[in-house]
Every structure is written in structure tokens, then in C-alpha cells.
Symmetry: C2
Subunit: 168 residues, 2 copies
Amino acid sequence: MKKMNLGNNVFMYPMPVTLLGTKMGKKANFMALGWLTRVNANPPLLAAGINSSHLTNGLIRENKTFSINFPSADLIKKVDYCGLVSGRTKDKSKLFNVQYGELDTAPLIEECPLSMECRVFDIYEMATNDLFIGEIIASYCDERYLTDGKPDIAKINPLLLTMPDNHY
Amino acid sequence: MKKMNLGNNVFMYPMPVTLLGTKMGKKANFMALGWLTRVNANPPLLAAGINSSHLTNGLIRENKTFSINFPSADLIKKVDYCGLVSGRTKDKSKLFNVQYGELDTAPLIEECPLSMECRVFDIYEMATNDLFIGEIIASYCDERYLTDGKPDIAKINPLLLTMPDNHY
């Protein structure tokens, strides 16, 4: 077996594909996010690595809240659009039906099987990206994606992403 | 569509399944890790959320290095064993063929299609878990898992995990 050294810029296999929601003024905005993981059991914390140049980076800092939405595979075109186009140039607020839970500034996507509301717990700053550590405040799932009261990944049929080829 | 509030302890869908390697004295040790993501583009940083009570937590602090190995689905039994059994009670050093790259204390699993060597960049401490932020020093992949010189997820056939049901 021959192991090749691929250098240091290799990605995780696979990454989840999520839509991170924020508020820009009165409108909702969404970015595609793959750099996401749970990081602490109790309190329930997750962390999202977001490039400092992204509009969303500033919006989270402003609102101190955000949402994480898990799209199913049939939403691939809209997810891809959210990943390619910045809210600075296009209004993405009408792409999805939006609802709110406990937080006023964490827009939840109705079309996504599973959504979480998060409050910023801390921000860990790095060279090109910032790690937004969020406390999960509540999670919402459509009844039809549950099995025994828990989200069922087979029913959710989530998107996966690989980089650097950006293949779903 | 009826959205149910599932509370705040909901997990990511899906999570990768990886084996984190450390050295315990002269022996290699491995834990199963699902809480992992890239967090910074340049330098290439990843982050792993590890419970403070785990043996691995102390071993990473001691060595300041670790490896991340991506097993293919056929390694599921050994991966599960690594996730269930602590290196405090069982010697896991003989489970896999181990090799080393640039770092002396980041054991790479030969059977895994893709492995990364990491040096600790920083440790972010939380209530129940610590986030080990590692700089990727090098990545190794068997030739047969590459397409156009890049890891091919279809060839790697990685394991995925959902929690809290712990279903692969």
C-alpha cells in the first residue's frame, strides 16, 4: 500500500451541509456552512468556522444569535445558491419560508427538517476564520422526520459536502 | 407541517467517524471521535471536542500532537471498540498497523484510507469538553483512494455517525 503525502490543506470527510441564518436589519440572510461540529456536551455548545470576510461573520457579531438549519437533499439548488452568492449583493430573505422560535434574530427555515436556535457563547478568533461557539437554545424538527421522538437521519436525507472539489 | 421543539441537546447530522491517535508512553492509543471540523483556512486548523475525563485529553496535552484517521466502513467493529473501551483498561496499540510521518507522537493507522498529523495550536476549555485546535502538518492517503490526486469520498467510503442513538 503506497501512502501519498497530500500536504496540509486536506478537508474532513464528509462535512455536513447546513444553512446558517442571521438577520440583516429586518430581513433574514443565509449562508451555506460545512465547518460545524458539536464541541461541548453540557451546556450544549456547537462551533462554526466562518471566514472573517463573510457578511454573516459581522451579522452574528451584531445579533449575538444565529440559526443552524439542516436541509434535505431536495433543497440542493437553493443551498448551493446560498453558498455562492453573498447577501451583500443579493437578497436571500425570500428563498425560504422563515419562522422564529424563542429568539427574534435566529431565522428558522421551515423547509429544513431540522433547525436549531443558537446564542453566541464566545468567539474564538483565528487568522482567516472565526470560530463562533454557540449555545443551542432549542431545536425544531418536523414530526414526519422523527422516529421514537428523535431525528431520523434516513428520513432527513441530509446533504454532505466534500472539499476542495465542492462535490455534494 | 408540525415542528416539534426537541430541546437543546440535539446533535449534528451526520457526524464524521474518525479515530484520534495519541501516544501513551511508547504505545499508540486511539479513541473514536465524531466532534471534529475544519475551523481555519490558513493556517489549516481543525478542532476536536473531547471530554475532559477521557484519557486522550491528557495524552494530547502531554504530547502536543495527535493524528486524525478516517476509517472506511469495513473497519466498523474496530472503530466501535475504540469508542467503547478506554485505553486506561485495554491496550489498543495492537488493533492497527501503525506508522509515523513527520511527527513522532502522532500514530497513523495504515488501514485507514486517509490520515492527518496535527500539532496542537491551542486548547479552548469548556465545561465538560475541551476543544483541541490542531494545525494540520501533513495528510496521507493511499494511492488507490485518490481521483485526480485528491481523496475520493466514494472510494474512501467513510463511516458516518448519528447521536444520541449512536447509529453508524
